[in-house]
């Protein structure tokens, strides 16, 4: 390793700006980011999708021409000499280019050739990397047959063949199961400890911030803060509480998030986690009026609390054109007109399940994507399918929507198998696809009009529903904008508006909040909760362990099988141990995998 002292930063960013042309728009991907990263540390580059993480990564790697500002890596000016920097860094892009038709070993050999690793050194290097990544037993397997987590580890191994001094990892943990995620972090920690490698790690998962030595937090191209995770949480020390009262948790959350002086209220287990605008509980009298019998327990702040507090600060600073998150009215009041059907009371135990799945199996050739899955969802319930990419949740979801035939088993949605039922049966469901599939060339208004027509709305009712969507989702300002040009949060709102046009009784949501910022996610769940309260049944898939907190019940899937079934609280309780009194769902997931002793990746 070179002589420079550890005190000298490995990365120095000075007022980095970058603009893109996207059709007619000029987008500021980065609007003046300055930060440093110390040698031999892990720096988290954290922000939601569209924050500018990948642009910044590519600028640091010298893959994009620097437009303005200065980027210095290991003392080299990247703008002036990108090749010198590239010789010393390793870059793993979001979708690492593995050759799926080659085996693990062949991929390693190929990348060793491409990176000009001398054949004499390869054997020793493989001997280090294969145990480190846990890929040793799988060298003869085709890369295409690996699980998402193992693919990421193989990509990382390929990047590390030529040991880099500086390692750039662009969202390596997206969609990866918790076990693989934990292993990826172990590899990273090993690298910084043993070889003093500097790691710049980008992620949209806020809980990963706490594993980093330092954090660069960006949002919409702007730097929101840089420093140690502890410094971020210290800013809001004494402002995080767990609240409970004699109310349902959703009701309590809705009331508290509307109360003055509360920046954030999210469901956590049976209680509601709140972040207050200032320390102390001076305004607690107001809160108690909103939620009689309120009791608050102080709790250590999380990184996400600090991010939300910062975002609320920004939203407040430019008040008039604010993103819609401000809870001006109580959520229940703004809820869409419920699809009134007589029957059970919301929240009560529904007498007859709306969705029934029994021994559902789906094979693709010899590969079993979904194996003997059974569950039932009652009216007005929010039910989650939780699992990593490739766990089988999307396949299950598509079978329920009638997009894919089942190989075996029985399924009923509102009494129908949508695959074979008459087309009109599909009018009962609303569907929001992954990545918010909208017609990108159509304007917001045209999208609304098209989907309402597709659901056979016409005349006054169609006009009324479009007006409702525009008002409810704050779309008036963007009505004539092309869907392609919308910000991610708006796309998500438009997609949900389109799915709700016909007031469905059942709502299917596939990865509904992946990549959106925490405020947009809260806003989204506020609406979903209101829908559920009004009797709509919601089925949601997510690979986001935290998001599962919003579900009434959920199943956790891995390798096409159901690992666990129950309420978030009961699943977490199953993982409670003396040394871990308050486990997260992720802890529970890992514990289950360990207990089952099965190789998730297999």
């Amino acid at each position: 390793m070179p002589p420079p002292t550890d005190a000298e930063p490995a990365l120095r960013l000075a007022d980095v700006r970058h603009r893109f042309r996207s059709g007619p728009r000029d987008v500021a991907a980065l609007a003046g980011v300055s930060a440093t990263a110390m040698r031999g540390t892990v720096t988290g580059l954290i922000g939601p999708d569209g924050a500018g993480k990948t642009t910044l990564m590519r600028l640091v790697a010298g893959l994009l021409r620097l437009q303005s500002g200065r980027v210095e890596v290991l003392g080299i000016d990247v703008g002036r000499d990108p090749l010198a920097v590239q010789a010393r860094l390793g870059y793993m892009p979001q979708r690492f280019g593995l050759y799926e038709d080659l085996t693990v070993q062949e991929n390693l050999d190929l990348y060793a050739d491409l990176q000009d690793v001398p054949p004499a050194e390869r054997r020793a290097r493989y001997a280090q990397l294969l145990p480190l990544t846990g890929l040793g037993p799988f060298t003869k397997r085709l890369a295409g047959r690996l699980s998402g987590g193992m693919k990421q580890k193989l990509g990382l191994a390929c990047t590390l063949l030529h040991p880099p001094e500086f390692l750039l990892l662009d969202e390596p943990t997206v969609g990866v199961d918790p076990v693989s995620r934990r292993e990826l972090w172990r590899i990273i920690e090993h690298l910084t400890r043993e070889s003093r490698t500097t790691v710049l790690f980008s992620t949209a998962y806020l809980d990963e911030a706490e594993r980093c030595d330092q954090v660069i937090l960006i949002h919409e191209g702007r730097l929101l803060g840089a420093g140690t995770p502890a410094a971020f949480t210290a800013e809001i020390a004494g402002r995080s509480f767990l609240a409970s009262a004699g109310l349902g948790r959703r009701e309590l959350q809705a009331r508290l998030s509307a109360a003055p002086g509360i920046l954030d209220a999210v469901i956590q287990g049976d209680r509601v986690r709140i972040v207050t605008a200032s320390t102390g509980t001076a305004a607690s009298a107001d809160w108690s009026r909103a939620a009689p019998g309120l009791s608050l327990t102080p709790t250590p702040p999380r990184f996400e609390d600090s991010f939300v507090a910062k975002l609320r600060g920004i939203a407040r600073a430019n008040e008039p054109p604010l993103p819609p998150a401000s809870p001006t009215a109580t959520p229940v009041a703004t809820a869409p007109p419920p699809p009134v059907t007589t029957g059970s009371t919301p929240g009560g135990t529904p007498e007859e399940p709306v969705i029934v799945v029994e021994h559902l199996t789906r094979r693709f050739g010899p590969f079993v994507a979904v194996r003997d899955v059974s569950f039932a969802v009652g009216r007005g319930e929010i039910f989650g399918l939780l699992g990593a990419n490739g766990a089988g949740k999307s396949t299950t979801f598509r079978m329920l929507c009638g997009l894919l035939p089942a190989s075996a088993g029985r399924l009923r949605v509102a009494g129908f198998d949508l695959r074979t039922a008459a087309a009109t049966a599909r009018a009962r469901i609303g569907y929001m696809a992954q990545r918010f599939s909208l017609y990108a060339d159509l304007s917001v208004r045209q999208n609304l009009r098209f989907f309402s027509s597709a659901y056979r709305l016409s005349g006054a009712r169609q006009i009324a529903r479009i007006d409702w969507a525009v008002g409810e989702f704050d779309l008036a300002a963007v009505l004539d904008a092309t869907a392609r040009d919308l910000a991610l949060g708006y796309k998500q709102r438009l997609a949900l508006a389109c799915a709700l046009m016909h007031e469905p009784q059942i709502l299917f949501l596939d990865e509904p909040t992946s990549g959106v910022d925490p405020l947009a996610r809260r806003e989204f769940w506020r609406r979903i909760n209101a829908l559920a309260e009004s009797g709509v049944t919601v089925l949601v898939t997510t690979h986001f362990m935290e998001e599962a907190e919003y579900c009434d019940r959920l199943i956790i899937m891995a390798s096409g099988r159901v690992l666990a079934d129950g309420t978030p609280a009961s699943i977490k309780a199953s993982a409670r141990r003396d040394d871990r009194p308050d486990p997260t769902l992720e802890d529970a997931f890992i514990a289950m995998i360990d207990a089952a002793g099965t190789e998730v990746a297999a």
Partner: protein, 369 residues
């Protein structure tokens, strides 16, 4: 029940015309191809460079040379001093034919003896060589007829009296441009329709459509009618260009032409939708469209007559909608063929359209990964 279909059609047309690039695809390539086919693709020979060796220098030989020089087909580039110069010019591709006149040409003719004339033709392109020989022969027999009429002598043993119907001047443009109407319509419809479903699959919006109460027939009409509409507009523009710009005679009924074009566009739309429904990505759809397009042009009689093909290939052409529409377009333009005579061309396209559309509707739901 028509409202959702209209909404689909509307959306489809907005999507095509809102995007500057796809607008361009509809206008520019067909225009360029029309010009290329109208002007460049021709079987006619014009200004073929030739050399002349005339040691006779008589009245008759000069008259013969003048006939060659005066014809639009040939252009006399060089008058030679020896026969051997001719070979060198042919080798160098400076000329494509050498006309060698016998030294006793004029004398022989006056004595009513047969007077030899030799043509040396560049045979490297056999097709062109045959055409050159044919044109030269026409000039020679014209000369011989005139000579006997003026100077007497035995008339030729047998005489051809050729009358070319439909295309008296044998302009190949009259044959090619009407064919281009079918060709370009097929290209545009196949691309617009072929990519439409695949693009939606790629964007994820097709799933979104499948979970709405739209039935397969709604999807089929909503996806297919925009293609039919665009195809008919495209065909109309080229038809107008063919008659107004290229001055191709239009002798038949508009209705007979449009019935043929409509059935053709429906058949191609069905094929495009079936390709699109099978493809998972736009790239696959594009490959599929071309996989169909190239053989369909060759097996259509667009350039080479179907009757010349081996029998088993001829059987294949029966599944090719373009085969039928070419007969219709050429028939209506040049011959003025009517409905009843074209019935045998109409119904096979209707059958192909029906089969492909049903297949596409079925594939919409089946093909899900």
């Amino acid at each position: 029940m028509w409202r959702p279909i209209f909404a689909l059609i509307r959306k489809e047309l907005i999507a095509v015309f809102r995007d500057a690039r796809s607008r361009l695809v509809l206008v520019v390539p067909p225009l360029i191809q029309l010009l290329v086919f109208g002007y460049a693709a021709t079987f006619d020979l014009n200004h073929v460079p030739i050399a002349v060796f005339d040691p006779d220098h008589g009245q008759a030989s000069r008259e013969l040379v003048a006939r060659f020089a005066g014809s639009p087909t040939f252009s006399v580039r060089k008058v030679l001093d020896s026969e051997s110069q001719g070979s060198a010019l042919l080798d160098a591709r400076a000329v494509q034919m050498v006309l060698v006149i016998d030294p006793r040409f004029t004398r022989d003719l006056y004595q009513h003896r047969s007077a030899p004339v030799r043509l040396v033709v560049d045979g490297r392109n056999s097709n062109t060589a045959l055409l050159i020989e044919g044109y030269a022969n026409t000039i020679l027999s014209g000369f011989a007829l005139r000579w006997t009429a003026a100077h007497g002598g035995p008339p030729p043993a047998a005489m051809l009296d050729i009358a070319t119907r439909y295309n008296p001047a044998l302009l190949s443009r009259w044959f090619i441009v009407p064919g281009v109407i079918a060709l370009l319509t097929q290209v545009v419809v196949l691309l617009v329709v072929g990519l439409s479903v695949a693009r939606e699959r790629e964007m994820g919006t097709f799933d979104q459509l499948l979970v709405t109460p739209l039935r397969p027939i709604d999807l089929l009409l909503g996806k297919g009618l925009p293609g039919v509409l665009i195809g008919l507009v495209e065909a109309s523009v080229i038809t107008v260009a063919a008659t107004v710009w290229f001055k191709i005679p239009f002798r038949g009924e508009i209705g007979a032409l449009y019935l043929g074009l409509l059935l053709f566009v429906i058949a191609i739309t069905g094929l495009g939708l079936a390709v699109s429904a099978l493809a998972a990505t736009q790239q696959q759809a594009l490959l599929g469209a071309f996989l169909f397009m190239v053989p369909s042009v060759i097996l259509s009689g667009f350039a080479t007559p179907i009757a010349n093909m081996p029998r088993w290939v001829q059987w294949l052409t029966f599944a090719n909608p373009m085969r039928y529409v070419l007969v219709i377009v050429r028939g209506v333009f040049l011959e003025g063929t009517g409905y009843s005579a074209l019935a045998s061309q109409y119904w096979p396209m209707a059958v192909i359209g029906l089969v492909t559309l049903i297949a596409a509707a079925w594939l919409f739901r089946k093909r899900t990964v």
